[in-house]
Symmetry: C2
Subunit: 398 residues, 2 copies
């Protein structure tokens, strides 16, 4: 059944593809001779091309950030909550661009595309890419679109890391950096969870050293498991209690079942799934593994692990920001234990130390790391107000 699209949707969107013939030298030293970029845009670029806004996606995201590919599509793009006419990222004001990152599995050149030099899938031979490589390729796309300065570059989680890299690498090419639920670099615990995910994928017998597409298979179990682990880290303990417990309990309240709702009303005394939370994780993991490329998952987690813009500055992140010119908005969420508010405050402190202009918002939210994708009133309204002010700056510009 074709559905009626919501009034504040960007509507039916067709992804675009551009072939980049100029080689890209990666941080690893390897060179990508040419590549495709798949991207979407929402809203219209104004005459002086000053209202461009780049959205950077996170680990499992892609170019499909808002709207629908067809009336049959069940769910809109991953950040539809925030992108659309009248929404926080208002497509009546901005020309929004979101590209699938290099190494991704949404159509941009990556492990699941064909390597023209061999005629086979890139697979595990696709080079390890970093946040810096992504930002460099986003800058190439920017040039192709004829945009010389983004009104804002925006992203959450791994997307927020790209925002920071933009501010450092291309100080002249953005006016505002909006970095949400991110960290200046991963902690040992973050890396450890990523390694568990990678390990679960690479030890799956269907992984075939990464050449699973040639074997007409894919590491379903391993990718499912990787996503299950990931999913736990995206949700807060409280969010899980609320989601899987008929009685919402918080630490102070007595009673409540702490998210222990049973699947069938009683314990199985066996190794089947007993609790709702287990079924949910299985469902999430399996749905994900059917739609995502395992080699891309490996690449994305490595990009996360490697991200550390302070590395060129003797470990002092504030020095990385000395030449930045944009203004910054940082947003964090109280129950995010993957990248807690403390990590955003580190960035804020280093920005202030570097003399940058920073707005910092810490949002009370129960949803954990996933909060950045949720319609949390204070978050959305502040985000929207900030971007209205940015638009006013564009209009007031001489």
């Amino acid at each position: 059944m074709a559905m009626e699209l919501p009034e504040d949707s960007v509507g039916i969107i067709e992804p675009q593809k551009i072939y980049i013939e100029e080689p890209l030298t990666l941080r690893s030293g390897k060179i990508l001779p040419a590549y495709d970029i798949v991207y979407e845009t929402y809203g219209n670029l104004n005459a002086d091309k000053s209202n461009g806004l780049l959205v950077c996606h996170a680990l499992s995201g892609d170019h499909h950030a808002a709207g629908y590919h067809s009336r049959e599509e069940k769910k809109p793009g991953w950040w539809d909550t925030c992108i659309g006419p009248g929404k926080a990222i208002d497509t009546n004001l901005y020309f929004v661009v979101c590209m699938n990152n290099l190494g991704g599995c949404g159509g941009t050149t990556g492990p699941a595309t064909i390597n023209p030099e061999t005629g086979n899938y890139w697979g595990p031979d696709f080079p390890v890419v970093t946040v810096r490589d992504w930002v460099n390729s986003q800058s190439v796309l920017m040039d192709k679109l004829g945009i010389t300065k983004w009104a804002a570059v925006v992203g959450g989680s791994l997307g927020g890391m790209q925002v920071l890299r933009w501010a450092i690498s291309y100080p002249e090419k953005l006016a505002h950096a909006i970095c949400i639920a991110a960290a200046p670099k991963l902690s040992a615990q973050n890396i450890a969870f990523n390694e568990v995910a990678r390990q679960s994928i690479t030890t799956d017998p269907n992984f075939h050293d990464g050449y699973y597409l040639e074997h007409n298979t894919y590491p379903k179990q391993g990718l499912t498991l990787a996503r299950m682990v990931g999913h736990i880290t995206y949700l807060s303990d409280n969010a899980m209690r609320a989601k899987f417990g008929k009685t919402v309990a918080d630490f102070e309240n007595e009673g409540g079942n702490f998210g222990r709702d049973l699947r069938s009303g009683k314990l199985s005394f066996g190794f089947n799934v007993d609790f709702q939370v287990e079924s949910y994780l299985h469902y999430q993991g399996e749905r994900f593994s059917a739609n995502f490329d395992a080699n891309t998952y490996l690449l994305m987690t490595k990009a996360l692990d490697y991200f550390d813009p302070s590395i060129d500055y003797g470990g002092d992140l504030s020095k990385a920001f000395v030449n930045s010119k944009c203004k910054f908005l940082l947003i964090s969420f109280t129950t995010d234990w993957r990248f807690p508010p403390e990590r955003s405050r580190e960035i804020v402190n280093d920005l202030l130390k570097a003399g940058r202009k920073v707005t910092y918002l810490e949002i009370n939210a129960d949803q954990g790391h996933d909060a950045f994708l949720m319609p949390i009133p204070r978050y959305i309204s502040s985000f929207k107000a900030y971007l209205r002010k940015v638009y006013q700056e564009i209009c007031d510009a001489p």
Copy 2:
């Protein structure tokens, strides 16, 4: 090289085995017709048998809580930090008993022992056991040892849950319940991590539906992965930063590398291990998988998931404690995010509501859940002082 034993060690210990011919009805309704219990004891039982102290082990523990099995053994028992002459659990004062729980893999009847009815390994046919079943079998061992009342029952983590069950099921048979780093029941997040561990084991192609011993193999990869996930949850974020970062950084301090020490000094730009924390997790996981039975791991995690003594009391834990008679000592650790202090405080509140006598200690410690195994001065000295007072009560008894 045979080594000199430390002076405060219980020395060379020989595990004991007792065959229990009386059937045990499990909570699942199944009946274990007979079973072996493997246990160790340290110190001497006094004439009136009033100085018995039961130690309950956690997920990966066993009966070998203190001392050495030989002079060649590299590491002493798992709680040697706390058990020995002059230590917190002072073997000059107490007769300490620790048994390998049913379903374990330390010699007590479990999946890796032979089912006499079939002549094969129990394997996956070993019944699902619960904390209550363990406590019932510990009570059987107690009777065989001629002890009518424990001076104290003591345990950390899953061991602490057995302590709570003792206080509820056998109010007359213990004077003190010492419950460390535990929770009244798992949260959805705790269960989720356990399910990831189980999933990683059961999807290993060498699992063979649990009949891996018949196939002369074992699910090494799956068990390694399960332990890697578990290990992350035992350590605090801070503990990992300290362990794997040459510069110890806390949230407030600038600088520090957040546990990002590299293994070889530079990034590999490949999928080999880059960071020390990754090697460490691999090492821990592999060492564990070589020495632990996968079916036992599954059973232990289910016992954790199922533990909820409030279930017989309409979800009100305080009612479970109404008939308890012992005094309680609860201890928690500030950076334990598996079972944080909040979870111990829930127990404390329910004990107080039930009119029980409770001492509660919250220890500042960086080590996360694993802190209960560590020589943290305030923890050890308070624990020791408490048990000296308990011993004085024994001496003063009429």
